[in-house]
């Protein structure tokens, strides 16, 4: 393994100190110097006080995990030093507010600087960024354009504060510019939002719920320039039914939520199954059951997503593990929902949704095949090929368009006739089969590592980044299904061919992918599970893999 050029930065303070924002600004500084950036955001369910921190990792190759060591510890409060100083690498440095914090390192007169420039208290984070840039040896000419862009409000004061802090600090490092590139940096939620836009999104409806709200906020911000409808109604029940009303009227619509809200949506999910309404749900998991640990992670809703809603009907579930997959597969979720008139779920989680990821290049978004033209006189549930009925939205002169939550005939009129009931089941089965055939393709499963390697690490979703690094450093293979329903059995089977030990890494108590793999006839030999809400660190997971490999 080649030695990476990489830096880890931890910035910590209280809620309300602008820690996440500071992380993004530092992230943009690094991407502007050609680095790949990943930011893990750790915060508590409160608005003021407590302890928030971000760990930013910048490297010369794509990464989406963090390591245990820290090169720069930026402390806006004492707790940051008390909790994280032990993670400091040998040459690491603590940069701290010299009025509020006692530490060894470079104290910065943050409070005095903010006071002198007459800035707001939150601008302390700008001061610490200024000091970091000087200590890291980043020339002011590089810092200036990034700060100007990232502080569109109060630009003047922020720049003055940053420059004052910059001038007061002493350089210790010389962080080089890597390449002349500037990779875009967005949160997972934003990458999902961009993918939905690329897929032709017309409307996004959501009720706020951590960690999915980032999609709502992002799309609400760009609603005007994109011309999409963004709406926040009274509950997740209203959300899912409004979305189905929008889709009936021809708008490509998505919704977003987390576990509790998803529970409320389940009757609407069944409705979409029966009435054959295209519906896309962004499901960002968090630690449950119930309110759980709302701002921390879990991958424990996979089986729920696979089975949510009463009755039997097709669904397409994807769990992106990288920003480009979030972009591509969110667009694909819309395409599949509209092609088959079914439910699609984009399965994310706290760590993916609220983490920030740079992306080397924007992937091509999949182009949706044109929908089949209807024939007239129109019947909403006319049997087409693969059980798909041509779609038509009202108004259409001379035709009526009826959708129905009851079992219905081809015109959409309620029926209890057994023959028609069987026909409507077969229609759904035909769609399920066609969808499965179309989605069991190499694209559906990410693989990397040595061909013929006997040990395979299996993961899905947000653990991709850490498992990739661990697989690479231990010389193992990684297999990570992106499409989870219909499960791409043939592709997965090809991917693990020749393996002797399959180790599943998952943030749940039971290893839910194991249940799916077992039902498909695969055997998972070992499981590495985590359920404290925190992400795996690279070094921790290496130790865990070595431990289970040696049968402990």
């Amino acid at each position: 393994m080649s030695i990476m050029t990489e830096y880890s930065i931890l910035i910590g303070g209280k809620a309300g100190d602008g820690i996440t924002q500071a992380g993004q600004v530092i992230g943009s500084l690094f991407t502007s110097m050609g680095y790949h950036v990943y930011i893990y955001v750790d915060y508590q369910s409160l608005i003021r006080g407590g302890h928030n921190f971000c760990i930013l990792r910048a490297a010369d190759k794509p990464i989406s995990a963090h390591r245990s060591g820290i090169d720069f510890l930026l402390a806006l409060d004492q707790q940051t030093v008390d909790l994280h100083a032990e993670k400091l690498n040998d040459k690491g440095v603590i940069i701290y507010d010299n009025e509020k914090v006692r530490a060894k390192g470079q104290g910065v007169a943050i409070q005095a600087i903010v006071k002198k420039i007459e800035g707001k208290p939150i601008m302390a984070n700008t001061a610490v960024i200024g000091a970091l840039c000087k200590i890291a040896g980043i020339p002011w000419e590089r810092v200036l354009p990034v700060l100007t862009k990232k502080f569109p409000k109060g630009t003047d004061k922020n720049l003055k504060i940053a420059k004052e802090a910059y001038a007061s600090a002493t350089p210790l490092f010389e962080i080089p510019v890597l390449v002349d590139a500037n990779y875009p940096l967005f949160s997972g939620n934003e990458w999902i939002g961009l993918g939905l836009l690329a897929g032709g999104l017309d409307a996004y409806i959501a009720y706020p719920m951590t960690p999915s709200s980032g999609v709502l906020h992002f799309l609400a911000d760009v609603a005007e320039e994109t011309g999409i409808i963004v709406y926040h109604p009274e509950s997740e029940i209203a959300v899912v039914l409004m979305a189905e009303g929008c889709a009936y009227a021809g708008k490509k619509t998505a919704v977003g939520t987390s576990g509790g809200g998803f529970c409320l949506m389940t009757e609407g999910i069944s409705l979409a199954g029966q009435a054959e309404i295209p519906l896309v749900i962004v499901l960002a998991q968090r630690a449950g059951p119930s309110t759980g640990i709302p701002t921390y992670n879990a991958q424990s809703d996979l089986l729920f997503a696979c089975h949510a809603g009463h009755g039997e009907f097709p669904r397409y579930i994807v769990a992106p593990g990288t920003p480009d997959e979030a972009y591509r597969f969110s667009a694909e979720a819309l395409n599949k929902s509209w092609k088959y008139q079914i439910l699609s779920i984009i399965l994310s989680d706290k760590n993916f949704s609220e983490g920030y990821f740079s992306c080397e290049s924007l992937p091509e978004s999949p182009v949706a095949a044109p929908l089949t033209s209807p024939s007239f006189p129109y019947e909403r549930y006319a049997n087409g090929s693969d059980g798909i009925s041509p779609f038509l939205a009202p108004p259409y002169h001379g035709e009526i368009i009826k959708v129905n939550s009851y079992t219905h005939d081809s015109a959409g009129i309620t029926t209890e006739d057994p023959e028609t009931a069987i026909a409507s089941v077969k229609k759904r089965l035909a769609k399920t089969a066609a969808l499965a055939a179309e989605t069991d393709v190499p694209d559906a499963v990410y693989t990397a590592g040595l061909i013929g390697c006997e040990t395979v690490l299996v993961c899905w979703g947000s653990t991709r980044g850490v498992v990739s690094e661990v697989a690479e450093s231990l010389g193992l293979k990684i297999v990570s299904p992106i499409v989870l329903a219909p499960f791409p059995k043939n592709t997965f089977s090809d991917a693990i061919k020749g393996s002797k030990t399959i180790i599943l890494v998952e943030e749940s108590t039971s290893g839910q992918l194991d249940r799916i793999l077992t039902s498909e006839g695969f055997i998972v030999h070992k499981k590495i599970l985590r359920y404290d809400g925190r992400p795996f660190l690279v070094e921790e997971l290496i130790n865990e893999v070595l431990r289970v490999q040696h049968g402990q």
């Binding site: 320039e225 039914l241 309620t414």
Partner: protein, 280 residues
Amino acid sequence: MASDNTLITQAQNTWCQGCGNYSIQHAFIAVVAGLEQEGIPRENIVIVSGIGCHAKIADYLKLNSFYSLHGRTIPVATGIKMANPNLKVICFAGDGDLYAEGIAHLIHAAKRNIDITVICHNNRVYGLTTGQYTPTSPYGFRGKSTPLGVHEYPLNVLEVLLSAGATFIARGYSRRLPLLKRLIREAILHPGFAHVDVLQICASFFNVTSVYENLVYEREEKNSQSFDLASLAAREWNYNDDTKIPLGILYKVNKPSLPDNIQPQTNERMNVIRSIIERA
């Protein structure tokens, strides 16, 4: 106006003899036919029904329809209207459906003044599930789930709607057909959230025709923009006692409604995405 048979499907009608649903359907068909003559084509109408006896109207009418879930007509209708403001979206809901399971949606629809019409088939009992109390059943109602009598006073839904901000509130009665037609027509043409509570009997489980015949009267509507007078009118009958029951439009005002008809920008999507990424 004679019934327009071109608006009736082949579906077999299974409402009980004497059910008030027939009158509501008849009145609505007449209104649709009238609107069509005034330039609102029938394909621009979408009806949304809940689940219950009332909801079968979705099967019976040859119109665009979304036969939705119990209590959920309003969010579905809201989505349709937001997606295409040119559509006239009318909810048909039952009192159990709308005032129990769906009450939150009703309050918020009134609050946001979404430009849809809600017609509640209020027979004050669950019919399709064979006779349980609903939010508008009288105190002491003996149903299958409350054999000793229900220990709840009914909800005065018109007061609730006034408090929530509805801009058109009316009460009809299935046996006053000319009035019912007028109320439905005005509700559909009202620019904002319009609610028509239609009293009807349930021929099988709550037949109170003689009570309604004694108590209902058509009120004067000339001060219908007054919130205070509307409040008094809403309180004349509390859905429980044997006091006079006012029919007609209780309240009608104009306020900004949703959707707001602002023409969205239509920039080329990939150009917008690139611009979002570049400025990040």
